[in-house]
């Protein structure tokens, strides 16, 4: 079959961007429905305690208030949910309810829900709720949580340990005892959060007359929520419609089940009218999942030549009061210990993981789950090894990266790599950044008291996950996707697909892929996403699966429709379908390229004059295709990043001068959009490396829960980012695309930490904690 690649690989612009530029985005926050009421929540001001009194009488009588719910009146209509999965053997978490029952477990835990005619009135009424909580000692530190005698994080658990596991190769001890060099470090990775510019938003609309529940939900995974709502509220899933319109950022944060969204659905079912909740920024900080929060001890063994023999890693990660549902809060730590050392030919390994509860907001999956931690620890140790062996950071990587011709390769942690291109990436990076020149400049500037640093980080990224991620553990999280492609009666194309759009350009790349199968241009392909009633069921967009799995689904659906069109054309033209092809909006003769009949004509005949088709000719112009990845459990990508910084050694302030990325995401569908993903991802990695941190006091109060105090990366501080590519398509699919959404985030912080430490090296100072704030840098320098 002739595979057209006219549009795949081209930098098509996003049609849906035009709506946003015109102020015509349609977000859940913009939605107003008839009879809609607004929700606000009364939240626990304490990190842990027993609810002694909850009196909502005055609130219920306040102007504009429609209804007040407490745990007693709301929780019974929704089955509790528990964030555990079977493949994380032995993991535990308490069941969760919408509103706190008896005990509050973090500062921000919702206790009562007020519904009013406006959000302002709902907030007015919140002030009238009498809530008395007898506070209990909160567990705020993960290490302390594991000490015998420490109180339990909640009454619902038997231990503060959620999960513990060890991966170990048999040769680990021997590798360390034979090592010529061992380097080690203790690392702390701060807690941070997604801060999507559009906060979490949901409008639930239950129609009691038909039993139909429609939920407009700012999420990346509508089908998952369709299933969650159906199951938790006991509704048939075909009566649950979840619509994710424009979503103002998600990054993993909006695919978890939250108390507030569930409560809004429950309230709509109870009231039989639309209920809206839009988190305000303060609520976002104390209810959106947070990310990371790891303490890692690690050591690396090398032989005399600097060949990495083994790593030994212990990760303690702190997840808040519950493991999230339905994907758990263990996946992050699990990926941390499995991604350690991944780019390198490292035969032996031990990774220990402890996942620990505390009285804080939950942590869970967020862009580049686990990657930044594994990458930062590995790359920091590689740099320390280089320093100890007096090797250049490029040289030590060249000695240890898995050779480009040594695939397939299985890592010491058991990950299977189909084909990666670390050495090609390293060479390209070195050339692109002008490595030698930068080193010369660095040496010259040091003499003037200017301290610049260069940091490098190789990485692999997990993309295109199959069911191995969640499905095998019992999670009702789809690993497959579906597409419906149809030719309209006028010969245009429509594709409805289960992967979703949050601005990364999903709809554009799907249009490109489909266009190439049907011989049309992408602007002739209308793509619909984000509505469970109008698109087939699928996993949607997470873990970098939109392009690889969604794209392949679209490709196969397109080819199926192509075959149907050619069959009809063959019947009409009295030609063998195999002698025909599609190009430029028409059926052409495959050999000569001559136009035989237009798609518009095919559409017209099949739709309005099917009577003219020969008997037995199927007039269907709609093709349906589902696709689940087979072959490798994941398609790994790889790449390398470099960061160039200048540290003001008197103030501890770091200036980011430049950032480079060489990335191999397989077949590139749209270079413009791939680079956009990388740049955005890099900045999302640099943010927590330098600025972002959810700070807590020793009572478990988050103390910087506003955009004035929580420092997100802004334009003034972020560097320009230069990008180059290598294309190693996966052979698992026809399309050959892998994911790219998390690559930037995976290694940016690691490169930056190595760069800062490179700058600090002449002073003998070193930093092993993120964010790398002026305080921490000055402390490392001995100024504080």
């Amino acid at each position: 079959m002739m595979a057209s690649t006219d549009h795949i690989g081209q930098s098509h612009r996003r049609e849906n961007a035009l709506r946003h530029l015109a102020g015509r985005g349609r977000f859940v926050t913009d939605l107003a429905l008839p009879r809609m009421v607004h929700a606000a929540f009364v939240r626990s001001p304490m990190a842990k305690g027993k609810i002694v009194e909850l009196d909502v009488t005055a609130a219920a009588a306040a102007p504009g208030v429609v209804r007040v719910f407490t745990a007693e009146t709301l929780n019974p209509i929704c089955a509790p949910w528990t964030g555990t999965l079977d493949h994380f053997a032995g993991m535990k978490s308490a069941p969760q309810n919408m509103l706190a029952e008896g005990q509050v477990l973090w500062a921000g835990h919702p206790v009562a829900m007020i519904l009013a005619h406006s959000r302002a009135e709902a907030e007015d009424a919140c002030e009238l709720v009498l809530l008395d909580i007898e506070d209990e000692d909160a567990v705020v530190d993960g290490d302390a949580a594991l000490v015998e005698g420490t109180p339990l994080v909640s009454d619902g658990i038997a231990s503060n340990l959620c999960y513990r596991t060890v991966l170990e190769t048999p040769g680990l001890e021997e590798a360390f005892s034979n090592a010529a060099h061992v380097v080690e470090g203790r690392f702390t990775f701060g807690r941070h959060t997604a801060v999507t510019l559009e906060p979490r938003a949901v409008v639930a609309d239950f129609d009691p007359s038909t039993g139909q529940l429609t939920v407009h939900h700012g999420t990346q995974t509508p089908y998952q929520f369709q299933d969650v709502y159906a199951h938790q509220f006991g509704l048939p899933d075909n009566k649950v419609r979840v619509i994710a319109p424009d979503v103002g950022g998600s990054f993993g944060m909006k695919l978890h089940v939250y108390n507030e969204e569930m409560a809004v659905v429950a309230a709509s079912i109870t009231l039989g009218r639309p209920v809206r909740f839009v988190a305000d920024r303060l609520e976002s900080f104390v209810s959106d999942v947070h990310a990371r929060d790891h303490r890692v001890s690690a050591r690396m063994a090398m032989d005399a030549q600097g060949t990495i023999l083994a790593m030994d890693v212990d990760d303690m990660t702190q997840i808040g009061a519950f493991s999230t549902y339905p994907r758990t809060s263990v996946a992050e730590g699990n990926q941390v210990i499995r991604l350690m050392g991944a780019p390198y030919t490292m035969p032996d390994y031990r990774g220990r993981l402890s996942v620990v509860f505390q009285n804080k907001v939950q942590t869970s999956q967020y862009r580049a789950v686990g990657h930044p931690i594994a990458c930062a620890v590995t790359e920091a140790l590689v740099d320390r090894a280089a320093e100890q062996l007096d090797l250049d950071p490029i040289e030590i990587r060249a000695r240890n990266l898995v050779a480009d011709d040594a695939y397939p390769h299985v890592s010491a942690t058991g990950y299977q790599f189909e084909k990666l291109s670390h050495h090609a990436a390293l060479a390209k990076l070195r050339q692109m950044m002008g490595y030698e020149t930068l080193r010369e400049e660095q040496a010259a500037l040091r003499k003037q008291g200017i301290y610049r640093g260069i940091g490098i980080a190789s990485f692999v990224e997990i993309t295109n996950p199959g069911a191995a991620f969640y499905g095998v553990g019992g999670a009702r999280v789809s690993a497959q996707d579906g597409a419906i492609v149809r030719l309209t009666p006028s010969g245009e194309v429509h594709c409805a697909i289960s992967v979703t759009e949050q601005g990364q350009g999903t709809e554009t790349i799907i249009a490109q892929v489909v266009a190439d199968q049907l011989g049309v241009t992408p602007d002739q392909v209308k793509v619909t996403t984000g509505d469970t009633d109008t698109t087939p069921s699928g996993g949607a967009t997470w873990a970098c699966r939109g392009a690889g799995i969604g794209g392949e689904t679209a490709l196969r659906a397109g080819r199926r429709l192509q075959a149907q069109i050619l069959a009809i054309a063959g019947a009409v033209l009295q030609a063998e379908p195999a002698t025909l092809a599609l190009a430029e909006g028409a059926v052409i003769d495959r050999a000569t390229g001559q136009e035989r009949i237009t798609l518009a004509e095919i559409g017209r005949i099949a739709t309005y004059r099917p009577d003219t088709l020969p008997e037995g000719c199927d007039n269907s112009l709609t093709a349906v295709q589902h696709f689940a990845p087979t072959g490798y459990p994941f398609d790994f990508t790889n790449g390398i990043q470099a960061s160039h910084v200048e540290v003001d050694i008197e103030t501890g302030v770091t200036r980011l001068l430049k950032h480079w990325v060489v990335e191999d995401c397989g077949r590139i569908i749209n270079p413009l959009l791939v680079d956009a993903q990388i740049r955005g991802g890099v900045v999302q990695g640099l943010g927590p490396a330098f600025f972002e941190e959810c700070m807590y006091d020793d009572m478990g109060q988050m103390t910087n829960a506003s955009l004035a105090d929580y420092l997100v990366p802004m334009a003034g501080e972020m560097p320009d980012i230069e990008i180059a590519h290598i294309e190693t398509p996966t052979l698992d699919t026809i399309l050959g695309a892998k994911g790219v959404g998390e690559a930037g985030t995976a290694a940016a912080g690691a490169a930056a930490m190595n760069a800062v430490n490179d700058a600090l090296r002449p002073m003998g100072a070193r930093i092993s904690q993120t964010p790398m704030t002026p305080l921490r840098i000055l402390t490392a320098l001995g100024h504080v």
């Binding site: 009364v42 939240r43 001001p45 304490m46 990190a47 500062a107 919140c126 002030e127 008395d132 303060l282 900080f285 104390v286 700070m695 006091d697 009572m699 109060q701 988050m702 103390t703 910087n704 829960a705 506003s706 105090d709």
Partner: protein, 153 residues
């Protein structure tokens, strides 16, 4: 958050001691106190209005004296709820040491706030706590002195 301080009071330890249990003096001493009612020999319920820069909130709560070593030391603890603004609580260990005709009052306080105040007021809280603690003991000194000089009823 820990606060420490010392205040020299123009009164004997016994006078200071009884003032610590004196509703009227405490009412004058607590910054922003709108009402203070004695609920037992050693406890009071209070309504306090605080205004610090952009924050203005009314706290309802209790003040209690405990760990009492008469004439020497006690712990003054308070807990107040400011509604959706959050809560504040603190305990101050107070010790009295005679110094001639005067008394040196040393305190070590542990103060905490929660909820919205903690979430948003980070830059404010310590400075405010220090300021309010300072004001309390200064007011206490003033009230004590006034009491001393006032003619006996």
């Amino acid at each position: 958050m820990e606060l420490k301080g010392s205040q020299t009071l123009a009164a004997t330890p016994d006078q200071v001691w009884s003032a610590l249990f004196d509703r009227a003096i405490l009412e004058q001493a607590i910054p922003g106190c709108e009402s203070l009612e004695q609920t037992s020999d050693t406890s009071f319920s209070a309504v306090v209005k605080l205004k610090i820069g952009p924050v203005s909130a009314r706290f309802k709560g209790d003040v209690e004296l405990s760990d009492i070593a008469p004439g020497l030391s006690c712990t003054l603890s308070g807990k107040g709820s400011g509604g959706i603004a959050g809560f504040a609580k603190g305990a101050a260990r107070v010790t009295l040491t005679p110094q001639g005709a005067q008394t040196v009052l040393d305190y070590t306080a542990d103060v905490a706030v929660g909820g919205k105040l903690a979430a948003l007021g980070n830059r404010l809280i310590k400075a405010t706590a220090q300021k309010l603690t300072g004001e309390f003991f200064a007011n206490f000194d003033t009230a004590l002195t006034c009491e001393e000089t006032a003619p006996a009823a």
